[in-house]
Amino acid sequence: MSDTPRSDAAVAGDAALSPPPIVRIRNLSKHYVRGDQAVPVLTDITLDIPEGDFLALMGPSGSGKSTLLNLIAGIDKPSGGELTVGGLNIAQLSEAELADWRAANIGFIFQFYNLMPVLTAFENVELPLMLTDLSRSDRRERVELALSLVGLADRMKHYPNELSGGQQQRVAIARAIITDPTLIVADEPTGDLDKKSAADVLALLQQLNREMGKTIIMVTHDPGAVRAARHVTHLEKGELLGTEVVSGE
């Protein structure tokens, strides 16, 4: 963690000088309706995420981290405010448009990997490419590349239940990057892993960010995981407390 956190203003100042942020959030709110009562989950969120960032989203359980991530990833719809990703106001897209947009722009990493148990590692990674018009051989080439990048070239024919948790999460990471998305979202990617596997996964995410310039947003409540990120922002009871630079930056 940072010993000398920079102020919000400093981060905002950086953003003002650099190209437009990849994620731009203004006064975003989200509430769920339960019965005839509106339960607020996020209130007045304003946040910019620059391209190439690796942002950790921290906060206690139930603070709305997943909800915010889901909004950014376009699998949930905001109740109010502005939300643009890559310059596109995704709140205005229809369900079908959103689905296509996600297929092209978002890579998902989940806490429980969410691989298809009946498909091999290779097929799981190939899955998002079924929505593209890539040829079979192009798909094969890309899948093999992605799997060797995550260090699982020798496990392509394995089924998820034949892989360790860490290996499954690496397959999921390969699946998340296979379409070369604009944004990678990870919801507690190390939440189900032992220390060693968690470290591997974080190192991999860091490598994707540092070496390949991938923008990553990661929800976590593991302070250790935050070290892999460039910035960390804290969420509590649906409100952002501020963004800090992670030490070593």
Binding site: T67, D76, A103, N114, M116, V118, L127, M130
Partner: protein, 384 residues
């Protein structure tokens, strides 16, 4: 890969799929069997030719007609030939050895029934033997009778012991033709009646009337009945099919019940498959949500569910249909004496196929709607 997703998903819950599959196989088998029973019931009337009319006493079948009517029927324009036919009702050794015997005009009767195939020299031999008889292949096989064998019958309607010599064995044109009956000379019957009960002589059960054009059946039936209007014995003429169906009609409620049960079987299996699909889809909520998050349309998930349901039912259906052949063949060996024609028809196979397709589709409807409606974030939260 989509096909793999569907097929491999079916066998995820192995026991459940297996039980559902067994249920499907049994249901398809039972359905096929019940429909075959219904078919068998109507088999006699299905093979009935539209070119044959049956003329009987208008009062009831138990009343006879005078044989001299034959010439007057034959004289009607459009009628080609007329055979006499009387039910004999003899017993071979024991009443449980039931098979039908008819006294008919030969060779006319066999000209009227071209579906009975027999070498001409056997008919020649028959015509030379007053006490000869012709038996169908099924009957011959049942009792191991060969040409030249003697068949003693105990008369019931016509008292006394009657012994016939097998002069010919006829085959059916196809397996829809009934060949478990026996024919002998009507003249021989009449001769012996004349000796014992002169007053009962020269009377016949029915006339089998051949007509040139099948589509004139109604008109010719009316013409025949008009011919004997106001005579001592009025006639009732109908197509052979209608005549056969009037026997079936007496048992129509049983047939209706069997038919109903066959559909109930399908409804039950629909409930079973629908339940299996509902359970399956509930367990995969998170997977379907993941697919949708990755950008697959709700329609893709719907297609997976329908695909899985249909693959399951078609698999069970195919097994059931294949097994229907041996099962029905086995059944035939038990019920062969009740149902002369007992076979799996092409129509029944189509019904079985149609039933599993409909079950496969209907069973998937609700789970598919549910999966399409569920929001991605709720689906992802779902832990199976």
């Amino acid at each position: 890969m989509i096909a793999k997703l569907i097929v491999k998903n079916i066998f995820r819950a192995r026991l459940r799929s297996l039980l559902t599959l067994i249920g499907l196989v049994i249901a398809v088998l039972a359905f096929g069997l019940l429909r075959t029973v219904v078919d068998a019931w109507y088999a006699g009337s299905d093979m009935a030719s539209a070119n044959r009319l049956i003329t009987r006493n208008a009062i009831s079948l138990t009343f006879t007609l005078p044989t001299y009517y034959r010439e007057r029927v034959r004289a009607i324009d459009g009628v080609t030939q007329v055979s006499l036919s009387s039910w004999f009702g003899g017993i071979y050794q024991d009443p449980k050895n039931f098979f039908p015997q008819f006294a008919v005009t030969l060779p006319t009767h066999f000209n009227l029934y071209p579906e009975f195939l027999m070498p001409p020299e056997q008919m020649d031999a028959m015509l030379k033997d007053r006490t000869g008889c012709l038996i169908g292949r099924t009957l011959a096989d049942n009792y191991g009778w060969k040409i030249g064998d003697k068949i003693p019958l105990q008369g019931t309607i016509y008292p006394g012991t009657w012994e016939f010599t097998v002069r010919g064995i006829f085959d059916g044109k196809d397996d829809g033709t009934v060949t478990r009956q026996m024919y002998f000379h009507w003249d021989y019957l009449n001769e012996r009646v004349k000796q014992g009960f002169p007053r009962a002589a020269d009377r016949v059960g029915v006339f089998v009337v051949g007509i040139r054009e099948g589509d004139r059946a109604a008109e010719l039936s009316a013409a025949i009945d008009a011919e004997f209007k106001n005579s001592l014995a009025e006639t009732l003429t109908e197509t052979e099919k209608a005549f056969q169906l009037s026997f079936v009609a007496q048992t129509e409620t049983i047939v209706a019940a069997i038919r109903l049960v066959s559909f109930v079987v399908i409804i039950i299996i629909l409930a079973v498959v629908a339940n299996t699909m509902a359970m399956t889809v509930r367990e995969r909520v998170a997977e379907y949500a993941t697919l949708k998050a990755l950008g697959f349309a709700p329609g893709f998930v719907v297609a997976l569910i329908f695909g899985e349901s249909l693959t399951l039912t078609l698999l069970g259906g195919a097994l059931g249909m294949v097994l229907s052949f041996p099962v029905i063949a086995t059944f035939k060996s038990f019920v062969g004496s009740i149902f002369p024609v007992f076979r799996l028809s092409e129509a029944t196979l189509w019904w079985q196929f149609g039933a599993v397709v409909v079950v496969g589709l209907l069973a998937a409807v609700l789970p598919a709607i549910r999966s399409a409606r569920i929001r991605i974030v709720d689906g992802l939260r779902h832990v199976a």
